[in-house]
Amino acid sequence: MFYPKVMSKFKDNDDNYIPISQLGATEIKNKESNFVFFFGTADSGKSVILSSMLYYLSSQVGVLRPKQGTPNTKEAQVLLSDFFENIRQGILPNRTTRDQVTRLDFLFEPNNKSKKIPPINLTFLETSGENHNDIRRGGSYHNSIAAYLNADIPLTFIIVTSYEKAHKDDTIINEFLDELERKGKNLKLVNAILAVSKWDKSGKMTVTNEEDLNNFINERLSRTSQRIDTYGLTKTYYTIGNIQNSNGAEKITELNLSTAEILSKWLYQSIVGYPLDYEGTFWERLKFGFGK
């Protein structure tokens, strides 16, 4: 029996050879959009949140249309189809492959007809938790992900940690916030939210008292909590509904989109400045009133 060799970069380069990183893949095309970047370690629930948000946005409050001039890749289209088909069948998304960013581009057109609630471009970045874990202890992101963080594009950050593993993620979330600051993102101005996923594991589907969530975050994510409060960032919890394990596979038995609604509305409002369910201006309300 034997054990793996140490994979230190410095030990590997005994002959002073430094491999050149791939430069070609770092350019980001079609920057005219609002980019949504999920952060979270493996199995924290990023893909579940993304798929349920997309389902909520396109089934409850509006339409998600392909963005003209920015067609999704075939792989992105397959992923989307899987998201939408599987969620209704109670099937949870697969784990995400590392070292690749699947970019999902949309034009979100809300049902709300108020002029204050315009259609917006949304670009969701589907990444692997394995890659986020790489930044631990001064590590760096894979080129494909670093490219988005380095680019001058409007980014919204959804920081995901699970109810069960939150205490293990406190350090890495702080490291991620440090990484953002190193990359020149002013956290007081940036759109970011902390979402505690798998809240159903707490035995409850909702947070009845705001204090419960705050207490949880204070207790399990002490450093993150301090930072979030200092920067005035938002916190929320997330669940997709009842999940049961049958024959070694987890399945959603009852789909709950209430937290998807909260997060989706926050996302829209953080970009546009008006809530998605804005009742309309005085004249609009009058007009809509007559229209009825």
Partner: protein, 451 residues
């Protein structure tokens, strides 16, 4: 030592590490630069009790590598996520081993990995560094009969995987694996699975190219045809080159032959010229010698007291004869220059000429047109000169007549009355003398005062 053979183990380990891969045997120099062995779960995934074999090419840090991999379904700890697995890869650099041995070692490694690290389908560790494997007894044999991989372009990356649905647990699979090396020209990675579920998944997702055994054969056939096409094109290219070279050869030989023939003629002329010149050289010597002797004789005659004038005349006469004789002898003519023919192939000649024209003269006809323009100038000049001569002649003639007329006026005047006499005219000499009447028709030319 197995310096160019590496054993890598990998797996999906859930929160927080996710997919990880670690080197177990061999030089881990490439570990930081090789691509991940992670499966693209959007395109291919493992199901319980299923396996995927893979063969992959990669060029990292200037080294060509071939990987043989096997993936087995295994769950992450505390998670029921799908798309998870544990696997082994044998990495060869520059040379590969016999497929049957590679496959045997790969399966042994994978069995060892699975048995030691997976229980009830769940991976027991949280990082690939924590995996344990027993080194297969045949692992070192891999190094014994290595062969170079021929006919694979490892630098060309297609990023397009192929999935083959076929049996992976019989002897035929060794053969398939061996033949699939060729297909790495078209695909970076080729997956093989006997699982129907996986095949359906891949087919449904339609991101990777999916084929059954017949399709695999067709892919090989396609590759063979493409190679054949390339080979035929190369042959045709060579044949065309030979044809062109034959034409060039004929041209060059003819040109050489003509040039040599011309040179031979010139050479004969030159020989004749040289002969003539040699004889003339003797004549020159003779003339000079004769003249020297003559001068000597004349000098002696002078010394003996002969008349200077007589001797000088004799000298002048001799000198005249000498000069005349010398002038009669031709100077040696210029030898005709022999031209050395240079062989040119058609292709080079075209380019060379084109380049020269471009380099020295943008208009290839410039030199030719210039003398033509000179000829035109000469023609114009001649015409103008002729016209001027004619004008001069005309003016000269006119002047001549004008100058000749005044002296002729008297007789004219004298004869004028005669001319004016007509049978109907009464001649009055007095009147005429008093009032001379010039001729109307000739008024400007005939002076009024005729007295």
């Amino acid at each position: 030592m197995n310096n160019n053979i590496n054993l890598i183990a990998f797996g999906t380990f859930g929160n927080p590490n996710g997919f990880r891969q670690s080197y177990f045997i061999g030089d881990s120099k490439q570990s930081s630069v090789i691509k991940t062995f992670d499966l693209n779960t959007n395109a291919i995934t493992l199901f319980p009790n299923s396996k995927i074999y893979a063969i992959r090419k990669e060029n990292t840090i200037g080294e060509n590598s071939i990987y043989y991999c096997v993936y087995s379904f295994a769950k992450e700890q505390n998670s029921e996520r799908s798309g998870t697995f544990i696997g082994t890869s044998i990495l060869f650099t520059e040379k590969i081993a016999e497929e049957h041995l590679t496959l045997k070692v790969l399966n042994e490694c994978q069995n060892s990995l699975y048995n030691k690290n997976v229980k009830d389908n769940v991976i027991l560790v949280s990082h690939s560094d924590q995996l344990s494997i027993t080194k297969p007894k045949d692992f070192d044999r891999l190094n014994q009969h290595l062969r170079e991989v021929a006919d694979i372009n490892l630098l060309q990356s297609s990023n397009k995987p192929l999935v083959v649905y076929c049996k992976t647990d019989d002897k035929e699979f060794q053969n398939i694996l061996k033949r699939s090396i060729d297909l790495l020209n078209s695909y970076d990675t080729i997956y093989f699975t006997k699982s129907q579920e996986i095949a359906q998944y891949v087919h449904q997702k339609n991101i990777f190219n999916f084929v059954e055994l017949a399709g695999f054969e067709a892919e090989l056939q396609k590759l063979a045809e493409e190679r054949k096409k390339i080979r035929l094109a190369a042959i045709a290219d060579f044949e065309q080159t030979i044809q062109q070279l034959e034409e060039d050869k004929t041209n060059a030989v003819n040109k050489f032959f003509e040039q040599i023939k011309n040179n031979e003629l010139l050479h004969q002329e030159n020989e004749q010229l040289i002969k003539e010149s040699k004889s003339e050289l003797e004549q020159i010597k003779q003339i000079y010698g004769d003249f020297f002797i003559k001068i000597g004789e004349l000098t002696n005659q002078l010394k003996s007291g002969k008349k200077i004038q007589e001797i000088k005349e004799l000298f002048i006469e001799n000198k005249r004869i000498f000069i005349k004789s010398i002038e009669q002898i031709k100077k040696p003519a210029f030898i005709n220059e022999l031209k050395k023919p240079t062989p040119n192939t058609g292709l080079r000649q075209d380019n060379f000429q084109g380049d020269r024209r471009q380099k020295h003269n943008q208009n290839p006809y410039f030199n030719e047109s210039h003398p033509r323009r000179n000829y035109r100038r000469i023609d114009k000049f001649k015409v103008i000169t002729l016209l001027l001569l004619l004008l001069l002649l005309w003016l000269g003639t006119l002047t001549y007549f004008l100058l000749q007329k005044p002296p002729a006026t008297s007789p004219v005047n004298k004869t004028l009355p005669k001319q004016q006499i007509s049978p109907n005219t009464n001649f009055d000499e007095d009147k005429m003398n008093q009032q001379p009447q010039p001729l109307k028709t000739n008024m400007d030319k005939v002076p009024l005062n005729t007295k």
